[in-house]
């Protein structure tokens, strides 16, 4: 669905990607993780067609994003962290924007905004940031785009709304759709993501599915000093040492994305070897 090969991109003199390769398939929810400024948003903007790579190729549904053909744009929806909504009412927003998306489902949109508890007749400019974001997310999901790019989707959402967002997003996952979520709020989306992709220094540091991660790594508390010393990552807490270590039993355990991220960033070589073996 999305094929990125040898991608190089730079903002004037600041290089972001240099030879990045990544394959993203339909039917998955990808969690794109990385430090600030490592290029997560830039990658999403390259996929959406807002930026043009200096080298390499990107193919999305068989299209080159930067050509920005209407047929391509109708099937890729990006919810950016900062976004614009016009100064019109929600019914007008649907009336004037939805016809551009042939797959748009008004019934679903109405359902989503009612789940988010947004008054259907509100004017967009009178809403808070969180409410606007909920309208945009509802629109994005109702547009039925094949590729959904979400950049920090839970930023600005209250606790209840985050839970509603997870519920709605879980409903729209299907075999034909590829969802990429760039986030720092890993806890918010832990149960939704089925593949973790970590970017660091403009390269893919880690790209594995949740099933394999759970089989190969264990996330647990340990009081055993040997365990702590052999762990890929450990941090002390009031309840003992929280560690990421090899999963010798090969039984799927509970995944902690935050710990996984810390482990990979601090000990990527060892973890990469483990997954290559």
């Amino acid at each position: 669905m999305i094929s990125i090969q040898n991608l190089s991109f730079a903002y004037k003199k600041k290089p972001v990607f240099n030879g990045l390769n990544l394959q993203l398939k339909a039917g998955h929810v990808y969690g794109l993780l990385g430090k600030n400024g490592t290029g997560k948003s830039s990658l999403l903007r390259n996929i959406a067609g807002l930026l043009n790579p200096q080298n390499g190729t990107i193919s999305v549904n068989g299209f080159t994003p930067f050509e920005r053909l209407p047929i391509f744009l109708a099937n890729v929806f990006m919810v950016a962290e900062e976004f614009y909504l016009p100064d019109i009412s929600i019914p007008d927003f649907i009336k004037y924007y939805s016809p551009f998306y042939p797959g748009f489902d008004t019934r679903k949109f109405t359902n989503y905004i009612s789940v988010f508890e947004i008054p259907a007749e509100s004017t967009l400019q009178n809403m808070s940031y969180g409410q606007k974001k909920k309208v945009l997310i509802s629109f994005a999901l109702a547009a039925n785009a094949k590729v959904l790019l979400l950049d920090e989707p839970t930023n600005g959402l209250d606790i209840i709304s985050k839970s509603q967002f997870r519920k709605i997003l879980a409903e729209v996952v299907d075999e034909e759709r590829c969802i990429i979520i760039s986030t720092h709020q890993v806890k918010d989306l832990e149960n939704l993501i089925d593949r973790v992709t970590i970017i660091d220094e403009g390269k893919i540091l880690f790209d594995e599915n949740i099933e394999d991660i759970s089989k190969k790594l264990s996330f647990r508390f340990s009081y055993d000093q040997t365990d702590v010393e052999n762990a890929y990552y450990s941090e002390s807490s009031l309840m003992g040492n929280l560690i990421v270590g090899p999963n010798h039993d090969r039984e799927e355990g509970k995944l902690d994305l935050e710990l996984l991220y810390k482990a990979i960033v601090t000990n990527s070589d060892k973890i990469t070897k483990l997954f290559q073996s």
Binding site: L50, L51, P70, L73, A74, V76, Y84, Y96, Y97, F100
Partner: protein
């Protein structure tokens, strides 16, 4: 569906543009109407004998046409100045050609029609008021409605005449291109760039006048027969050429 132009998508874009901007456009038109009426009233109060002279009417039409027109053209691509609004503009599922066409429709055609209609609304009303309230039997002292379409400019010593309105389309196309080309301070940067080109253009004319056979005749420049039509041809082709350049700049836009 055609990926370059579809009338359906174009109509959707027009409807969307109108829905998002109609309040601003209508208020701007009313403000302009009010300003023109106030200006003509002010002129009537000061002018002796009390009439609205044709050259005042011409200035009252062409000044807003050029100044507001340039500003309006510059504002059409204001979305591209920020990544947030620019993303919304570029990611809307319509072709670059359709998006540009909508901008041209509103900033060039609609702006020209609405400004001209607003001007004539104020002008006809004020000429009527001037002739009704300051009645005179002397035809020379009466006010007449100006015909802005016959105002010619840069009349060379040849049969070719240039309508001043053509220059509006040239200036408008320059500011549209500037709005896409420059991300920050686009209005000022376009103005400065245009000014530099104008100086260069004037310099060429100045040099020409120094050449044998290029002497001035009254207010008209005497030019070889082939230069005047060529000059006008160039002026007429500038807007479409700059629109094409704007299209390619828009197509290559990154935010």
């Amino acid at each position: 569906m055609n990926q370059f132009f579809s009338f359906k998508r174009f109509s959707l874009l027009v409807s969307k543009h109108w829905a998002e901007n109609r309040t601003r456009y209508c208020l701007s038109m009313l403000a302009l109407l009010g300003l023109l009426i106030a200006w003509f009233l002010f002129h009537l109060m000061l002018c002796e004998p009390r009439r609205i002279m044709l050259d005042v009417q011409q200035i009252s039409y062409f000044f807003p046409l050029f100044i507001l027109g340039s500003y309006f053209a510059n504002q059409q691509f204001r979305d591209l100045r920020s990544n947030v609004n620019g993303s919304n503009f570029l990611l809307l599922p319509a072709s670059t050609f359709e998006k540009l066409l909508v901008i041209l429709l509103f900033s060039v055609i609609m702006f020209f029609i609405v400004l001209t209609a607003t001007f004539y609304l104020a002008d006809i009303l004020m000429v009527y008021i001037a002739n009704t309230f300051f009645e005179t039997n002397d035809p020379a002292l009466k006010s007449y409605v100006v015909n802005v379409f016959t105002f010619n400019f840069l009349m060379f010593a040849s049969d070719f005449k240039l309508n001043f309105i053509v220059l509006f389309f040239v200036v408008q196309s320059v500011f549209l291109l500037g709005a896409v080309h420059f991300k920050k301070y686009s209005f000022l940067k376009t103005f400065i760039t245009g000014f530099v080109y104008l100086i260069l253009f004037s310099l060429v004319f100045f040099i020409y006048r120094q050449l044998p056979g290029g002497e001035r005749l009254d207010r008209n420049l005497k030019l070889p027969g082939w230069i005047a039509p060529l000059f006008y041809f160039v002026l007429y082709t500038i807007p479409p050429i700059l629109w094409i350049v704007t299209y390619y700049r828009l197509k290559a836009k990154q935010v």
